[in-house]
Amino acid sequence: MPEIRVTPLGAGQDVGRSCILVSIAGKNVMLDCGMHMGFNDDRRFPDFSYITQNGRLTDFLDCVIISHFHLDHCGALPYFSEMVGYDGPIYMTHPTQAICPILLEDYRKIAVDKKGEANFFTSQMIKDCMKKVVAVHLHQTVQVDDELEIKAYYAGHVLGAAMFQIKVGSESVVYTGDYNMTPDRHLGAAWIDKCRPNLLITESTYATTIRDSKRCRERDFLKKVHETVERGGKVLIPVFALGRAQELCILLETFWERMNLKVPIYFSTGLTEKANHYYKLFIPWTNQKIRKTFVQRNMFEFKHIKAFDRAFADNPGPMVVFATPGMLHAGQSLQIFRKWAGNEKNMVIMPGYCVQGTVGHKILSGQRKLEMEGRQVLEVKMQVEYMSFSAHADAKGIMQLVGQAEPESVLLVHGEAKKMEFLKQKIEQELRVSCYMPANGETVTLPTSISLGLLNGPHIDGCCCLLRQEASAPNFRLVSSEQALKELGLAEHQLRFTCRVHLHDTRKEQETALRVYSHLKSVLKDHCVQHLPDGSVTVESVLLQAAAPSEDPGTKVLLVSWTYQDEELGSFLTSLLKKGLPQAPS
């Protein structure tokens, strides 16, 4: 029986190092190839030996699909393709292709230069890896090979994030990657058509959350920034370089524009500048407002936001600074934080989640005295705010997407097991769709409901037939109906029509048959008409037999029998015979 097999190598009941193996109709596809933020040992990358024990990666995998440029979805890519060794195609969208190497390079630098790791992938490997990438457009159907095709849908989340539909024959799987069902300031909402896949693999980061309106959050954020700036204070916003940072920039930029504010906004330079450049280029991937107005002005060409210089931090007067990294554990954001922490007029806004142990986490949990390196104690007098700007779909959004796509079954990844459990139950209850949530390394096998009933039944017709063989070579092939019948061990079913024609003829049956034979012979010149020794007449496969009913010697009954395939000839013959036989010359 055909089936779809799914094995998460990462992100099964977990967040991080997304990597899911899908076997669909004999094709093997790897979805995402990410790293785990929580580990620094081998566990940070997916366990590719699961595949390599059977041979080379390239032989096993038909293609690799990367949904978006976040490192937990693409971080292991150079390791996978260059160090483990994979030469097949890697599919991603154009923005992902553009931004992904920047992030990988950044990741490599931190790992190798800062932490001094050996045996890590090199810049050259990133470049080589990117050469294997094939970029796809939204809604473009890409034929990976003769049978496998993939198609990208818009997913929101970050620039270039996409959901992918993988299709072989009539079986299909949709992988959502990370997505967002509510639009934000720079991206639109995820959208998919009613493609009715066999399986929908969806992220479930916020499986148990229904979120509040984003407007309140935005308004709060703007109000806080505005108030602080008006008081003459400085605002520090630690951000991760890509994604939320751009959203917040747009938010502040438009607010500044609307309110005619003159206070400077700075963005710490480096990697963000390069990324911003790509944001300007990929306008079709942004939301309605930006798409509509970019002809007049590209929203990413910020008027008020300038590049930050180290020296600006000591400038008097109000200002707003976006600085990396987002959790205040190192780098520029921490430096600025130390400078500004002592003044109660200033404010720091944490726009996202902070890992335990970072400065960000400490100040958010209310610590006012921080021990810095060298036994310094930093007293935090500045205001600390927390503002959650997350771009994942919440429970309602996930349900909405499932409702839109109408899959036969759903598989949850990229979330915590306990939360998944709840969502799974909800999906099964409310949408009446079977739902799975495999752990890493666990394989889910789904039977697909392609209707084989046709093959089993007795109605094989026509000359060709689509056959799919099992286990050994799970492929479709075209065979003739005879061969199909032979292989399936079925006897051909014959459909015959029989008709009686009454003829006025006083002679014997044999003579009548002979007359019919000669008559038909004269009419049907290009058909093979035969008079069989048992007294019956055949025209091709049509059989005619004359019989004499006992009660009336004056009439003869002519039995005409033909198969379904000879319908035309058979009906012609009956109508011909019904007209009667020509008077014999005798």
Binding site: P183, A189, T209, D212, R215, E218, N260, Y386, K396, F422
Partner: protein, 963 residues
């Protein structure tokens, strides 16, 4: 030439018209056969289908008269039978449809043919077109039951066609012509009336989405035609909501809405439970669900329809704003709820703690319903939608629902306030307007006010002004709120000084609405000190004026407030009362005489006395007829004076007073002109003195145009009188010219023109003539036959005596009449710095004006620029430059481009607003005009203009270009 004219006047004056008419009718008859014949010849000539198609296309461009339609149809049908090419047949079929729509042609004669050719047609496209033709025929004959039945029958027969186009058209036909009841009339031919709803309903499950859509549309069409759909359709329609195609879903949403309006109270079961709910609630839930549909077209449709479902029960309605937040399976309060709680607990939002929004209670996992909650959070989704079209639709729906339910209004406030920060300006503006509309039902909390006021810094003027309008009619709950509003408005004022007037007006209403809240703020606002005298603020400071406007308006209904004023405040009050009387009300101040107590509205209980006064003075004028000319003049003069004064004092009567005063002035001018001595003097002597009479005639004309076009609410009764006055002026003009010019030639023309005018008058106002007893025109019409045959000199003489004898017509006063007025706010005309620009190039001048009581300003209001060299330029502002902030009020914000050759020094140009009018567009269409095509240019052409604003001078300086 002269001799010929003379002849005409003497002999054939009346006969000239008729032969012309005959010629005209003959012409019509000549063209009739030629049209169909020409078509016939053309079609016969056509060698190829392409040729024939060309001829048909050419033919379709020209209109066909009703009488010749049938002939043309016959020829077309004849060719139809012969034609082999389906594209030509298609065109013929469409032409048949067009022709059967011709006014005055009864298409029942071609129906049989059309049905006939339908039976033999093979091409699906042509079939569809033929059905369309039948639809045109059927709609033309709505009362013929038999035909309708027959057409329905034909449609039913073709419903099984394989082409979706044909099925579409059949369904359309059924929707337009079918009837619901099974036994309306038993037709003689035995065509039983079919149950169309069932037939159409069967096609809800057609395989083609286009046909499904057409079926739903047909159903909606049935509803529109007033047939009551059965409730059974509801379940069918609900199934269509999950259709794969967006157009089907969109139409299905409409259908569900229709059914919910038809059967709001009937009960439907909830599937998978044994509960039952009202149909309208169920439908509401379903439509709410569609607000999160995959297609934005459907979302817009659903959001729009939600607004009109007013019968829905309130707990369902309130669910639309409730998303049931949860976090990690624990119930969470929304930010709105938190804000409310913080407010009620007296502590202001800190938002400082990370866990501030930490979830509280544990949610029962079984009880949480993620999608089937129906209405849950529909508006939350709609307002957050990606497409601004959906957001606008949602805001509009919120507005409509909030207007009908005060409790909902209170709840949706938070969401509307949030929309003030939308990224698209249109949405922001829309939500501010919405808020204004529901402001009667709500009181703003302080934190909400805070958010509202934050928008005052918006750089868009429209937003700020809409917000000022909103603040005019909001209720604020606390004195801190008022203070906050004032502070923010003053901030706005310093940032955007051009908002001055709008802010003052806003504070005026804010003050008069909340006198008790302003009272405790007064010492602080005026910065008075119990012991020390503080410095006197600058009287010209707009911010200070703003504060005073707030306080004085509050003091109007709060008698204790003036006690808190310091001396200079009283002085400033007196100054402002004079200079900004529209913003500062009259106050009863202690120790001061009320100068204008007699007119102060607070003292006069009702406006009855002034109304009475108006009536009396107008009645007094009626006795005019019996007075000697001198007395009449005096009476008119002082009545006009009275009326003018009354208009100044009583703003609500200003329109009426002005209107009647203008009329009386016309009468006065007429009397004066007729009193001139010149009439008694021999012709050659008064050449020079005739100035007065002709000037009077001219002025009367102008005044009558003003009366006709500058007042809103003028009814037909008044228009007659005004036209009558104008006719008198024209007669006067004729008389004066006759006296002053030598020779008869120009007089012939004038006489003829005048008589034509009289003729027009008679035709336009034939219905009103009985009211004009004894008037000038009444007498004139009596003598018309004589006038027609008289020589000009005689005509003039008759007119002169008639003018003197004619009775004064009373002007019936309309119910509501307002004089159009305009004030140019910008340019202010105060600047001493000339606007410099290079000659030959243009400079843009911002013009900002408010218009009151102007009807159709987009077409009538023009801007005129007068250069010092007498050159005048008229500018037509774009329709988009007009905004409509309130009923009867308009705002013109536009840019005027100035240009001129180089000047040696700066000079002033005048900018003013004109009201363009065109008297022929205003006159009701007469029967004889309906037949002929009124070219659209007549409507827009300008006959003349009336200046209706004070001119503003702008200093400009075109410099010569440097080479």
């Amino acid at each position: 030439m002269a001799a010929h004219l003379k002849k005409r006047v003497y002999e054939e004056f009346t006969k000239v018209v008729q032969p012309q008419e005959e010629i005209a009718t003959k012409k019509l008859r000549l063209t009739k056969p030629s049209k169909s014949a020409a078509l016939h010849i053309d079609l016969c000539k056509a060698t190829s289908p392409a040729d024939a198609l060309q001829y048909l296309l050419q033919f379709a461009r020209k209109p066909v008269e009703a009488e010749s339609v049938e002939g043309v149809v016959r020829i077309l049908l004849e060719h139809y039978y012969k034609e082999n090419d389906p594209s030509v047949r298609l065109k013929i079929a469409s032409l048949l449809g067009l022709l059967s729509k011709t006014a005055g042609f009864s298409p029942d004669c071609i129906m049989d043919d059309a049905i006939n050719i339908l039976q033999n047609e093979k091409s699906h496209q042509v079939l569809a077109q033929l059905l369309d033709t039948l639809l045109a025929i059927g709609t033309k004959l709505p009362e013929n039951q038999a035909i309708q039945m027959r057409l329905v029958d034909v449609a039913c027969k073709h419903l099984t066609d394989t082409s979706h186009g044909v099925r579409n058209k059949c369904l359309q036909l059924l929707g337009n012509l079918g009837s619901l009841e099974k036994s309306v009339t038993k037709d003689a031919e035995g065509l039983a009336a079919r149950d169309v709803q069932k037939i159409i309903g069967d096609y809800f499950s057609d395989q083609d989405p286009r046909v499904r859509t057409a079926a739903i549309k047909a159903m909606l069409q049935l509803h529109e035609r007033g047939l009551k759909l059965h409730q059974t359709i509801y379940n069918q329609a609900c199934k269509l909501l999950s259709d794969d195609y967006e157009q089907v879903r969109s139409a299905a949403v409409q259908l569900i809405w229709v059914v919910s309006q038809l059967y709001p109270e009937s009960i439907v079961p909830i599937p998978s439970s044994n509960e039952e709910i009202r149909l309208v609630d169920d439908a509401f839930g379903k439509i709410c669900h569609m607000v999160s549909d995959g297609s934005w077209v459907v979302r817009v449709q659903a959001a729009k329809l939600l607004g009109s479902m007013e019968q829905v029960s309130s707990h369902f309605l309130e669910q639309t704003l409730d998303k049931k937040l949860m976090s990690d399976l624990r119930r969470k309060r929304t930010a709105h709820e938190r804000a409310k709680e913080l407010y009620s607990s007296g502590e202001f939002s800190s938002g400082r703690k990370w866990g501030d929004d930490a979830p509280k209670e544990e949610v029962d996992t079984g009880a949480v319903n993620l999608i089937e909650s129906g209405a849950c959070g529909a508006f939350v989704h709609g307002l957050e939608d990606e497409m601004y079209e959906v957001r606008i639709a949602a805001v509009e729906a919120l507005c409509m629902l909030a207007q009908s339910s005060p409790s909902f209004a209170e709840k949706c406030l938070d969401f509307l306030v949030d929309m003030f920060n939308d990224e698209i300006e249109e949405v922001r503006l829309q939500s501010i307007h919405t808020m204004r509309k529901i402001s009667n039902n709500i009181t703003l909390r302080e934190d909400q006010l805070d958010t509202v006021l934050a928008v005052l810094e918006d750089s868009s003027r429209d937003i700020r002004e809409a917000l000022h309008e909103l603040l005019c009619c909001t209720n604020v709950s606390t004195k801190e709120g008022i203070h906050l509003a004032l502070v923010e408005l003053l901030k706005n004022l310093t940032k955007y000084p051009t908002d001055r007037d709008s802010i003052w007006k806003c504070l005026k209403f804010l003050g008069s609405r909340h006198p008790t809240l302003v009272l405790p703020l007064v010492p602080e606002l005026l910065s008075t000190h119990p012991f020390f005298d503080t410095a006197e603020p600058d009287m010209d400071d707009p911010a200070y004026i703003a504060v005073l406007v707030l306080i004085f308006n509050a003091a109007k209904t709060c008698p204790t407030m003036p006690a808190l004023f310091s001396d200079h405040t009283f002085r400033h009050y007196a100054y402002l009362r004079d200079s900004l009387s529209h913003l500062v009300p009259a106050l009863r101040l202690p120790g001061r005489k009320l100068v204008s107590s007699a007119v102060s509205p607070s003292i006069i209980p009702q406006e009855d006395p002034s109304q009475q006064f108006l009536q009396q003075s107008l009645e007094r004028v009626y006795s005019l007829q019996h007075l000697d000319p001198q007395g009449a003049q005096e009476l008119l003069e002082f009545t006009i004076r009275d009326l003018q004064r009354l208009g100044e004092l009583q703003s609500e009567l200003a329109g009426v007073a002005d209107f009647s005063a203008t009329y009386l002035r016309c009468q006065l001018l007429l009397i004066k002109a007729l009193q001139e001595k010149l009439w008694n003097v021999a012709a050659p002597l008064y050449l020079k003195q005739s100035d007065l009479a002709s000037a009077a005639a001219k002025q009367i004309m102008e005044e009558t145009y003003k009366m006709e076009f500058m007042y809103s609410g003028v009814e037909n009764k008044q228009v007659v009188i005004i036209h009558h006055m104008r006719l008198q002026a024209k007669a006067l003009q004729l008389i004066v010219t006759a006296r002053t010019t030598r020779g008869l030639d120009p007089l012939f023309g004038m006489c003829e023109k005048f008589l034509q005018e009289v003729d027009f008058f008679q035709r336009y106002f034939i219905a009103d003539l009985p009211h004009l007893q004894d008037s000038f025109v009444d007498k004139l019409l009596d003598l018309m036959p004589r006038l027609m045959t008289s020589k000009p000199a005689e005509v003039v003489k008759i007119l002169q005596t008639m003018l003197r004898q004619s009775a004064f017509l009373h002007l019936p006063l309309p119910e509501q009449i307002h004089k159009a007025s305009a004030t140019i706010i910008e340019p202010a005309g105060e600047s001493d710095n000339p606007l410099r620009f290079t000659s030959g190039l243009v400079v843009a001048l911002d013009v900002d004006a408010t218009l009151e009581h102007v009807q159709d300003p987009q077409n009538t209001v023009k801007v005129q620029v007068l250069y010092p060299d007498g050159q005048a330029q008229m500018i037509h502002p774009k329709p988009a430059d007009f905004r409509n902030p309130g009923p009867g009020r308009h705002r013109l914000i536009t840019q005027v481009y100035l240009s001129h050759t180089a000047w040696t020094e700066a000079c002033q140009v005048e900018v003013r607003l004109l009201l363009a009018y065109n008297s022929s567009a205003r006159i009701p269409k007469c029967p004889w005009m309906e037949g002929g095509e009124m070219s659209p240019q007549v409507e827009t052409s300008i006959e003349g203009t009336i200046p209706f604003s004070k001119p503003v001078k702008v200093y400009i300086m075109p410099k010569p270009a440097r080479r």
